[in-house]
């Protein structure tokens, strides 16, 4: 037995500097039965950081529904796995990279993409799509923020988009969707959530569970350097202040070319049968991958740091264990086949070195130069970390005055123009043209093509649909209802393409969990997601929690982002969002037949209206509450849309969301070469609500007039209301309400506003990114 490394004495003071509380430190000592070495302290501090241990969220996440016949792997593995038939499964997960992206937007976003892609191919799946859910501070209206803040927000947008584009394009995965929002609260804390989807054979899945004592542990990929040390604990698990930019050395640097080699080499190695288990080295690097693989496999792992390929000399064991250098994998090989694996990786120009072995004693044992520098029981380290039931209390309710409705008969055209040109609603073409949206030739509906991205599954007739959604403004006003809307809208988006929603993944972006009101928001949002996922039949299969999204004590709006995956049995039935044919009928499908807007009463409508995109953009009001939500109505609409699309009865479908009916109708004409909606609305509610109100469970479809009767039959089966609104015309966009003109404008003018608003707001400057190809 080699001697223990006792060179440095660890004290409570050292533990505190590593972010461990007194209780946590005591627990670590209890698990060890002695004082930890410095390396061990480093290991405990990252494994028990908020980012890795979920210590504040774990108790709440248990309330999420995670099961279902379609679920093959739920939360706990590197990504969720769902059965999609024909012996195939979809592997998908969303993750945040918020703090690194604020400190260094280009590399922060790039490594966010790299990290989630590794999570996917670690499981034996080839990544086929990426979606990004992004939130920034204001970039357009100087009234919304100080000029220097607007300028910085624009640089953040440029940097983040550049980083995503740089990494995804080179790696060779299409970036096909997502959403981008702008609110003041994200100025000093942008959100970068990346969702990746892969496909694997059901019998070709790999788990991160070390098995078979004596099996060699093989290190693969980039060499280990000092970059990213304490990324998980210092960057991701603490609030920001004015000195946060100094944390730049904690941000990792990404190399998508190396990752592409890793992808091909790992998939080839897995297919060859010499791999027992595999995990990427992401947050907490070598520490997390060894400890988690050992713990999940109920085994131990022993490694010798002297064998780890290094980028620089003089690194201490502490630094090697905590490095977050990118593009590295750890795998357990079948004994006797390691040289075959090492040859294979060499073919791809990658370092592969056996650095240790699986043991039967359940210990994570780390040696360097014949000395043991760390020896920790793996399972307690991973599974018996701190769990907190942090106090939760609602924040004081909003007293902001509600919006007032315009007088009946007022022209609403100016309001529509404002909303269409707002960065939140405007076309994101400027962004997605920088992404390779088509590589791998599976993209049936890319960005802007449909409400969700749709990718075919080659070798089958099937296709997968994916959408993300989240409304921080609504969640701030009511985290329970707001979170339900996030699930419902993502599911509605998926169903609008004709796909049946199958399963969900979520990224929960919140402020400091040590504040009771943040914890309350979190708890309520989890309940909302749980209720909606249960009602819509989309279990949560994975995701992540990002706390401490606040700078200078100011938390972001609670922003749960939900990604929904759907399945189309027949890829050819995939439905786009735009009008296809002049003369087609325009129909509103409304699942909410029990509680219509008219029945809600004017006071309720005013409260709901005050939280709308229109109220914020045009009236400058953010108040009230998110629209009431009826999950059964959402389900009825989803089921009806899926059957209608499958029966080929529709020509297009687009759900009603930000900006209400007016924006939905306008967007359906954009990009069609001049088709435009001409509709007449009727109702007892105020005109402004009818045109811009944002109640859920609604979608606008276009349909050949001869199919209207069949459409009504199907809708009736699901108790979904069918409201014929008008026709697809050409040239002029028109909305009348109760017989009076509400909006009338040349469609081309509206389209120009919508198409170019983002580039104009950004006053586009040349990027500083490095991108070839």
């Amino acid at each position: 037995m080699p001697a223990m490394d006792t060179d440095l004495r660890v004290t409570e003071q050292t533990a505190a500097e590593h972010g461990l509380t007194l209780e946590e430190y005591a627990r670590a000592r209890q698990i060890l039965g002695r004082d930890p070495t410095l390396t061990e302290l480093g290991i405990f501090s990252v494994m028990w950081s908020e980012h890795c241990s979920y210590k504040s969220s774990r108790a709440h996440l248990k309330r999420l529904p995670t099961g279902g016949p379609q679920v093959i792997e739920g939360p706990g593995e590197n990504a969720g796995v769902v059965d999609i038939g024909e012996g195939l499964c979809a592997v998908f997960k969303i993750e945040s990279h918020n703090h690194p992206s604020f400190v260094e937007p280009f590399q922060g976003a790039a490594t966010g993409v790299g990290g989630i892609l590794r999570d996917i191919f670690t499981m034996g799946a080839r990544p086929i799509a990426v979606l990004d859910s992004l939130r920034f501070g204001p970039i357009g209206e100087p009234a919304e923020a100080a000029p220097e803040l607007v300028a910085r927000n624009r640089r953040l947008v440029e940097g983040v988009i550049g980083g995503i584009s740089f990494y995804g394009n080179c790696f060779g995965v299409p970036t096909v969707g997502g959403e981008i929002g702008f609110e003041r609260c994200y100025s000093r804390n942008p959100l970068v959530n990346v969702l990746a989807l892969g496909i694997a054979r059901r019998d070709g899945l790999f788990l991160a569970q070390a098995h078979g004592a004596g099996n060699p542990v093989v290190y693969v990929g980039a060499r280990t350097g000092r970059d990213g040390i304490h990324g998980a604990s210092l960057l991701a698990s603490a609030e920001f202040n004015e000195q946060s930019q100094e944390k730049r050395p904690n941000v990792q640097v990404g190399d998508p070319f190396m990752e592409k080699l890793l992808l091909e080499a790992c998939l080839e190695a897995m297919a060859g049968g010499a791999v027992v288990a595999i995990q990427d080295m992401g947050a907490a690097g070598l520490t997390c991958s060894t400890a988690e693989m050992a713990s999940r496999g109920q085994a131990g792992i022993e490694i010798d740091l002297g064998l780890v390929p290094r980028r620089e000399s003089g690194m201490t064991p502490y630094e090697v264990m905590l490095s977050e250098s990118q593009e590295r994998m750890l795998l357990v090989a079948r004994r006797g086949r390691e040289s075959e694996l090492i040859e294979l990786f060499k073919k791809w120009g990658l370092d592969a070195v056996a650095i240790g072995q699986v043991t039967a004693d359940g210990m994570l044992r780390v040696l360097e130069g014949g000395r043991v520098v760390a020896e920790i029981p793996a399972r307690p380290l991973c599974e018996e970390g701190p769990v907190y039931a942090r106090p939760a209390a609602p924040p004081p309710g909003s007293q902001a005055p509600l919006a007032e409705f315009a007088l009946e008969g007022a022209n609403l055209g100016a309001g529509l123009e404002r909303v269409l040109a707002s960065p939140a609603v405007a076309s994101k073409r400027w962004v997605w043209e920088q992404y390779d949206t088509m590589v791998r030739t599976n993209t049936l509906l890319g960005p802007g093509g449909g409400d969700a991205a749709v990718l075919r599954v080659k070798g089958t007739r099937r296709a997968l649909a994916l959408a993300t959604d989240g409304n921080g403004r609504w969640c701030k006003l009511d985290p329970y209802v707001g979170a339900m809307h996030a699930v419902a809208e993502a599911a509605r988006n998926v169903a609008s393409t004709g796909a049946r929603p199958l399963a969900a993944t979520n990224c929960l972006n919140f402020g400091n969990p040590e504040k009771p009101e943040v914890m309350w928001q979190f708890s309520r949002a989890v309940d909302g997601i749980a209720a909606a996922c249960l009602a819509l039949g989309t279990p949560i299969t994975g995701g992540n929690v990002s706390f401490y999204n606040e700078t200078l004590g100011e938390p972001i709006d609670p922003t749960p982002i939900v990604g929904i995956l759907g399945l189309l049995e027949d890829a050819e039935a995939a439905l786009g969002m735009r009008f296809r044919q002049e003369g087609d009928r325009i129909v509103l499908l409304d699942g909410d037949s029990a509680a219509t807007a008219a029945a809600a009463g004017r006071a309720t409508l005013a409260r709901e209206f005050s939280s709308s995109e229109y109220a914020k953009t045009h009236l400058g009001v953010v108040a009230g509450a998110p629209p009431a939500i009826d999950l059964a109505a959402e389900k009825r609409l989803i089921d009806a849309l899926v059957e209608l699309a499958g029966s080929r009865l529709l020509r297009s479908a687009h759900d009603v969301s930000e900006g209400g009916l007016a924006v939905t109708l306008a967007e359906k004409g954009f990009g069609t070469g001049g088709l435009a909606a001409q509709v007449e609305l009727e109702g007892s509610e105020p005109a402004e609500w009818a045109v811009f109100g944002e109640r859920g469970a609604r979608a606008v479809v276009s349909v050949d007039g001869r199919q209207l009767a069949r459409l009504s039959e199907v809708a009736a089966k699901y108790n979904v209301k069918v409201l014929p609104l008008g026709r697809v015309a050409r040239g002029e966009f028109r909305i009348a309400f109760n017989g009076r003109e509400a909006v009338r404008a040349p469609a081309a003018d509206l389209e120009d506003l919508w198409t170019n608003a983002l580039a104009r707001a950004l006053a586009v400057s040349p990027p500083r990114s490095r991108m070839n190809g």
Partner: protein, 236 residues
């Protein structure tokens, strides 16, 4: 008849080219690893898009030293048809098999979208099945597609009919606004003097089925099949 798709470390449109030839066209096709030093048994070679060697240093600058490039050069010099798509085009220029060079796109950004290109010559094995002046809707996806060449080279290209594709408006009109990257003379693709080596920035392998947005790229692969079929009796 057999097609080869070269795989460099960092190629990422290799599977797409393989799918287009093997599954859509139903022709025999195989991957050629970049370490291979022979192309024996192949009738046509495709250098696919991607980021070979990460495009570090300069696009295509490292890939041209891969062992397979010696074989590609011999194959090309002996008249074998070689198609370079996007990054493959960049590699062929670095290898001296095609004239010209690439600058960053005029807007300095990566651009991915459908563009329209016009067939300027049907005198290559990759365009012989197209109509002269035929307009094809094909996507681009690159940040270094701003083709440039010495004035003398450009004159030579024009004189010898080596400009194979130009960016045009959807109706086939020449229009500077239809040029997505600022390339000289709206050039989207060129050939060598003999016409058997062609490079283009747009991705025909991404335009082989209506379901993915366009099937206009098929004519390029069909041309190749036709020209090889015509040749076959002579070489058999």
């Amino acid at each position: 008849m057999k097609f080869g798709v070269v795989v460099f470390p960092g190629s990422n449109c290799d599977h797409d080219a393989y799918h287009a030839i093997g599954n859509v066209l139903g022709q025999p096709v195989e991957f050629i690893w970049h370490q291979s030093s022979t192309l024996e048994g192949l009738d046509a070679v495709i250098l696919p898009g991607g980021f070979a060697y990460g495009d570090y240093l300069r696009t295509g600058a490292i890939a041209r030293f891969s062992p397979v490039m010696g074989a590609v050069e011999r194959f090309a010099r002996s008249g074998g048809p070689v198609l370079g798509i996007c990054n493959g085009f960049q590699i062929l220029m670095e290898a001296g098999l095609l004239p010209g060079a690439m600058l960053r796109n005029r807007g300095l950004r990566f651009i991915c979208r459908h563009v329209w290109i016009r067939v300027e010559t049907t005198g290559t094995p990759f365009t012989c099945a197209a109509r002269p002046g035929q307009v094809l809707k094909i996507p681009i996806a690159h940040s270094d597609g701003n083709y440039t060449a010495e004035p003398e080279t450009l004159r030579d290209l024009e004189r010898h009919g080596q400009i194979v594709f130009r960016y045009v408006a959807p109706d086939g009109r020449e229009d500077p606004a239809a040029n997505p990257n600022g390339s000289l003379g709206n050039i989207a693709g060129v050939s060598n003097r003999e016409g058997n080596v062609v490079g283009l920035m747009p991705h025909p392998e991404r335009a082989v089925e209506a379901a993915i947005g366009s099937a206009d790229g098929l004519v390029i692969f069909r041309s190749l099949v036709e020209s090889l079929t015509r040749q076959a009796p002579a070489t058999a």
